[in-house]
Amino acid sequence: MAELLRFATAGSVDDGKSTLIGRLLYDSKAIFEDQLASVERTSQQMGAEYTNLALLTDGLRAEREQGITIDVAYRYFATPKRKFIIADTPGHIQYTRNMVTGASTADLALVLVDARNGIVEQSRRHAFLASLLRIPHLVVCVNKMDLVDWSEERFEEIKAEFREFATKLDVADLSFIPLSALLGDNVVERSTNMGWYEGSSLLHHLEEVHIASDRNLIDARFPVQYVLRPFSNEWHDYRGYAGTLAGGVVKPGDEVIVLPSGFTSTVRSIDTANGPVEEAFTPMSVAITLDDDIDVSRGDMICRPHNQPHVGQDIDAMVCWMSEQTTLAPRARLALKHTTRSARCLVKDMQYRLDVNTLHREHGIDALRLNEIGRVSLRTTVPLFYDEYRRNRTTGSFVLIDEAANTTVGAGMILGPTQ
């Protein structure tokens, strides 16, 4: 059974990020001949001396013209063991919001380090964003090892420096791979130039890294998305609550409580179009029926009576601001989307801004601007049923929407109730 692994990369052409992705795709046969021919043609037209594999992902006209990655691009490849989705994002600080976007769904992040330059500001920022977004696995690819004579000493030096920095972060699983994306060493095949390295190649690591325990299978959380009422003779009294498990496991016979009403009932069945199932776990999309006829609608949360999420209107969160046109300031009113629940919110307080390069907390700020990240206190119009983001990335996240322009302007990661 092939599993799905989503990973995020951040970086610019200089880091060799595009070369690395190009090589992963090419060596796993996910780049096709017509795509390669088209990239070769465009590279020549642009006067490039070598085939610019970045053109494979930089698909927009503006990106090609300017030779930069602007937006998140999604790329796909598969091996017999896993199917991979790459969220390929630009690395420059002015694209922090794109990195945050790509990181939001990732199981794993690749941080590229140029072996000649060692850890630079950009590597720290990428690692920090990966930890802020709670990507469980971080792989530091020490690239261009060919340019430092395949030096074990250099690799160990970078490793030590990164480990020291990482103590300030919350990273569950940190690994290091010395490689040369250009020459292919340790990308798909183990390198013959670095006999001292006993770990696996990058692709092997991506295939083997254990992701099954990353999901929260403890706290059952079922945000009701849609109510299924067939109104047909065959399904006369059927009432199914459709949704995607945001956490945990649910089985028929489980005692459950519905928020906000507080009514309790028992799970009668868990239905799918392919027939009922004996249990459902995150992230399955199913329909739940209950033994009792109680009032349940979209935006409600089904969970276990002895394991409930926070219920509240006053919330502290780390927010990444994503709007070019506006800033996030105290007293701002915004629409908020959290699980299947929509609300409005008011910014009560701005506690500090976080410098994404140094992790320094800057207090006494008046607003968050584009690409800035800070801790804010919000009050919502209706209670939200939430967990801390560190406990559950689905029930702990929300987006902020400008009510006039309808654009998505902020991404929030819940820290907990406002103290």
């Binding site: 059974m1 092939a2 599993e3 799905l4 096709f32 001949e33 017509d34 088209s38 494979l56 992902t57 698909g59 927009l60 006209r61 503006a62 090609r64 602007i70 937006d71 691009a73 999604y74 790329r75 796909y76 598969a78 896993r82 199917k83 794109n98 945050v100 976007t101 769904t105 099954a212 999901r215 998305q225 849609y226 299924l228 009422r229 067939p230 047909s232 065959e234 399904w235 199914g240 459709a242 995607t244 239905d271 799918t272 179009a273 392919n274 992230p283 399955m284 999309s285 989307k337 959290h338 299947t340 689905t394 996240s397 929300f398 987006v399 929407i401 309808n406 654009t407 998505t408 991404a411």
Partner: protein
């Protein structure tokens, strides 16, 4: 002991079902584009699953160029009848007759680009506020950048440089009157995923996806079917070959590939081994320029 792991197909399925339900919950008048092509057939199946045991809470719409493969139209009607939903046909011929668009002329004339007008007219006429499309990000590099919920302005235009950030599984479908959202539930599926799912679920597809004998001629390295919709030019020779289609679109610009794959399993083996993308092998419309798809999408294409 259960390991609580989903296969990649089941994970993709769960994501698509979530997206489809989200649209039904948040929009007033959604519609699902349905051409009878493999992607839209899979999308329709996912929609049926999302609402089972209820019928589909929205109609399906075919943007009909009038240049169809007969087998596909027959399949379309049968499949829509099975699903119990209503079919809306947005006709390119009608748009031409009403003078909304002018038909291209010459032997390479195609109605591909005219579909945009028929689509946008139908969306406006019926007041649709969301339209599901079966596009996948692996198909084409402009599509690789498009959101699952893709905002369209009053003119149906896509602005690739001004897209809404899309995080986690939180989709922003807010829009003003007259604007709409294109929704792509199959964004993260690849051609191979589609075929593996077709096999696993036993999904029926139009016969032209499997190897059959057909009169074809070569143009720009593609095999086009000899039909009433194309003009064979001097030097082009019609021969009978064993072919199948990898994509199904307008008959005047969709090419066939030589193939002996007559079952889903054989097609999967062929797709897994191929070194050419499906659009590269079979779509003349993408060959106009490097950014042909982006340009068409900006105007409101699928």
């Amino acid at each position: 002991m259960t390991t609580y792991q989903l296969s990649h197909l089941r994970a993709l399925e769960a994501e698509s079902v979530h997206i489809i339900r989200e649209v039904a919950a948040e929009f007033e008048r959604p519609v699902m584009l349905f051409s009878g092509g493999k992607d839209s057939v899979v999308m329709l199946r996912l929609a049926e699953k999302a609402f089972w045991p209820c019928p589909l809470p929205f109609p399906v719409m075919h943007v009909d160029t009038g240049h169809n493969f007969a087998e596909v139209i027959e399949f379309r009607d049968r499949r829509v009848a099975e699903s119990g939903t209503r079919l809306v046909v947005a006709s390119v011929q009608e748009a031409i007759d009403r003078g909304l668009v002018r038909e291209e002329t010459g032997p390479r004339a195609s109605r591909n680009r005219l579909q945009t007008v028929a689509l946008l007219t139908a969306i406006e006429q019926h007041g649709f506020d969301a339209a599901f499309g079966g596009a996948r990000r692996d198909e084409e590099k402009a599509r690789a950048k498009e959101r699952v919920f893709s905002f369209r302005d009053d003119f149906g235009q896509w602005d690739p440089k001004n897209q809404r950030p899309e995080l986690w599984s939180l989709y922003n479908g807010r829009h003003h009157q007259g604007e709409h959202i294109r929704v792509f539930p199959l964004s993260n599926w690849t051609e191979l995923d589609i075929w593996q799912y077709v096999e696993e679920e036993g999904i029926d597809l139009p016969e032209i996806y499997f190897a059959h004998e057909r009169d074809v001629f070569e143009r720009d390295g593609m095999l086009l079917a000899d039909s009433e919709f194309v003009t064979v030019m001097d030097g082009e020779e019609v021969t009978r070959r064993k072919v199948r289609y990898r994509t199904v679109g307008d008959a005047s610009c969709t090419g066939a590939v030589e193939s002996t794959a007559s079952t889903v399993a054989e097609v999967i083996a062929e797709v897994a081994a191929t070194r050419i993308t499906e659009r590269g092998a079979t779509r003349a419309d993408d060959r106009t320029s490097e950014a042909a798809m982006e340009d068409r999408k900006r105007e409101g294409y699928f």
